[in-house]
Amino acid sequence: MSRERIERELAVLHEGGLEAALVSSSRGDCVLYRNLPTRGAKRNLPSVADVIVPVPSGYPAAAIDLAGLTANSALLPHLVGGTNSQGTFVAEGQTWQLASYHPHGNGGGPPWDPMQCGFHTYVDHLLAWLARLNQ
């Protein structure tokens, strides 16, 4: 993992007003994005959500994958892949559940390119994920 690279990527988002940080968890390093907008308000679901994304072993050669919410989030059943848990773990004092969401693996995003993609571009896929709610 290139910590310096990830910190630079997160600084780009910080400049744009988004809080995101590298955090430790029981399954290794993760990036925690704070207060991402959702479209849940019309369904009485949260209008913002914190999203956690594991830093893959071998990053940046290895693709970023998956996305998780707090395990008790009311949004999870409404998100694509949200009912197909990819595991739970603890970070920042909370339990998180990963959804089966693979933006760079036939999830709707482009193929992984370590020269173009990173945690600063992964937010594109998280915003799309949180906007496209199931029934």
Binding site: G16, V80, G82, G109, D124, A128
Partner: protein
Amino acid sequence: MSNTAAVGEKVGTRGHDKGHQEGAGGEHKNLHVFVNNRKFGEEDGVRSVMTGRQVAALVGVPAENAEITRERDGKQITADETVNLEHTEHFQVIRARVDGGCCHVA
């Protein structure tokens, strides 16, 4: 350097107006906007008037698969619609297609 590319040494401060100047005609020099919380400037192709397609292209999403929203008023911008960009304003561009491991939302 585009923010779509890998992040190199271009890491600025949080201040959106850093380096901002206003020309004699009221146009902004060093015009920049934010798309999905990433900063894009004239070197990335930002102009004072752009189409939705051009805005979506800043984050690499084909306009046919993009939903483009101007955050200051929530206006949805179509691919061929032109908009006047305000300095430092924010847009959200999301993909229309999102697939999970077990289901799909069109």
